[in-house]
Symmetry: C2
Subunit: 362 residues, 2 copies
């Protein structure tokens, strides 16, 4: 967790921007752009059917939207948290844009927390852990070194011979990795579903965050069940999480195995903070879901560390409350308002959190 | 769940083939094929770097492998269950092949159970539920009917003008849907994380299967915890699942909300069968994980219905025990042995299950 904690210190900001686009959060200009691209490409020779062509163009708007936001906040936040569900809703094209969003954020110096909430039995969890460890069988594993060298040399020559549309940002670059620094994981399957992630994180200098107490209203149905031996299900999970991290405690005192603890449960959060002294918290539920800065301040340690707070809609949807926005703007001006609104909201959140943390330490 | 139950009856086979490829389950011939394609494409002008080009060629081998198996078993099994983690390990290219595997199986008349084990809070669960409901914003939602018609007409004309490599199976078809008939879901987030899936299933004639008692050794750590009010966590989840399905009970008496109950827990499975009279079971853990036909027979109802049993490695890895296979075979002959071995194993499993079910009803 050291890399994340250092990034938080450098930005003086324990918050993470949730990159959770959805159709209702995109300015009309982006949707129009995708529609027009679909039409003009079909006129220029695209053989794809309308919905398939549209799906790629629409997904590309998620990347365009995210890129504007990342550019606007990269100097004031340490991390972003793309929610993979939003991209997965768009099928393969969406996941392509998820990976490209992660890569763009990493390339801009941000820590990327992939909110994937995966969880499965041992052998399958190993497959999911490739989110952290990369492609399971590389070309260099199956080809001779001179074959690899030849392909790389050919590729370079071939790339030089074609127009580099990539520079204009209007072509897709294909990658086989996910470009995440951490992922979220579901604990319902127990230790053998977690170990592959713990191991991959340790080997590849990455982190995981395990669901302990989620921010949603129904989270109580299972997580708050009282146990015969005392305590609640989420407290038992908390103890498991603290144990799963025991071998990866970094220089700041926190392990590579973090916990997801919703801002909407400040009392439980404060108790979990004491119960899990080596577990860093990812705190969703601030803002739109109802958690306040005073609520989340209780999930930090005595040094004002130990947690990072997420806001998604409050930042990426801030443009919707900006009176300068209107549907007649051109796409660049609309994106500038998206960007500026996100930056203003991110700065306000930093101020809000830091004030509450200062207050809490008085 | 009616469609699945009817398919099981038609095939006289309550089993599902797990399509869970991984590098170690692919014959060497397929890996060689991907390596050679990567080299020859670079010689023919591919500008992609070695690992990116390889990742697509390697992922394409998963589809080739699956296609051989689907062709071999489609007349004797009702369903396949691709495990998305295996494809996700290969990044975007892998998920592309996941979707194409699902589509190929559906096109061949099979019920496709996407083993995705997703689970998140309400608004995010809504996004995941697009696995069942399709693309969240279609071209036809944003374009005029004549624009849609024009794009379709252009696409058709454009497609006619190019070589149709698709027919040879060596080009990728792009789609924006997942082509699943059911998905698996994780219950840890509670009702608001489940409702979007329940709703999407009802609207789109699909089903879901919720994790209740998984087959892995550590599943006891959380699922078996004893509750203060009596019973265990998984029993409480079982009651929630039975409730979530209450409004979608079909003509065979089972709801659209099924449960995952591992074959490795025959006692609990038998009790759950009584506890959840309207809940169809997906039973993993038969074969390689240790569950026997007699174990799983206890999870069926008095009519020999109520469950479908999965086998993955036992079927798709059966070629490894076939003495006719050797590494010097050509790729087509190797795939023929994969196919024939899978068919033999699937037939043996059907016989094994049906005998045990007959025995259990004596």
């Amino acid at each position: 967790m050291d890399r994340l904690i250092d990034a938080i210190s450098a930005a003086d900001n324990p918050s993470v921007v949730g990159l959770d686009p959805k159709p209702a959060l995109l300015p009309k200009q982006l949707i129009d752009n995708a529609r027009e691209a679909t039409i003009s490409e079909s006129e220029m020779g695209n053989p794809m059917g309308a919905e398939a062509a549209w799906s790629i163009n629409f997904a590309a708007m998620y990347l365009k939207f995210n890129t504007a936001i990342i550019d606007a906040v990269k100097d004031i936040v340490p991390a972003v948290k793309p929610q993979i569900a939003m991209y997965e809703a768009l099928g393969e094209a969406g996941l392509w844009m998820y990976a490209r969003t992660c890569k763009y954020a990493q390339d801009n110096g941000l820590y990327v927390l992939g909110d994937i909430k995966r969880g499965d039995i041992g052998s399958t969890a190993e497959a999911y852990a490739h989110h952290l460890s990369g492609f399971p069988l590389k070309f260099s594993d199956v080809a001779d070194p001179d074959e690899v060298e030849n392909v790389e040399r050919n590729a370079e020559a071939n790339a030089a011979g074609i127009d580099d549309a990539e520079e204009n940002g209007d072509e897709f670059q294909f990658g086989s990795e996910w470009y995440e620094d951490a992922v979220t994981v579901n604990p319902y399957l127990g230790t053998d579903g977690i170990t592959p992630f713990v191991d991959a994180a340790a080997t590849h200098d990455k982190d995981i965050f395990i669901l302990v107490r989620t921010s949603n209203p129904s989270s109580s149905e299972i997580q708050e069940l009282e146990l015969a031996n005392g305590g609640r299900v989420y407290e038992h999970v908390a103890d498991l999480v603290e144990g799963w991290g025991a071998n990866t405690i970094g220089s700041h005192g926190y392990s590579r195995t973090g916990a997801v603890v919703g801002a909407t449960h400040p009392e439980e959060g404060a108790r979990l903070r004491e119960r899990m002294p080596h577990t860093f918290f990812l705190v969703p539920g601030y803002g739109a879901q109802g958690g306040t800065a005073a609520d989340v301040a209780r999930m930090f340690d005595a040094n004002g560390s130990g947690a990072i707070v997420n806001s998604s809609r409050g930042i990426i949807g801030a443009w919707k409350k900006n009176p300068d926005y209107n549907e007649d703007l051109n796409i660049d001006d609309a994106l500038a308002i998206v960007a500026q609104s996100a930056r203003t909201a991110a700065l306000a959140m930093r101020e809000d959190l830091n004030s509450a943390l200062k207050e809490a330490r008085r």
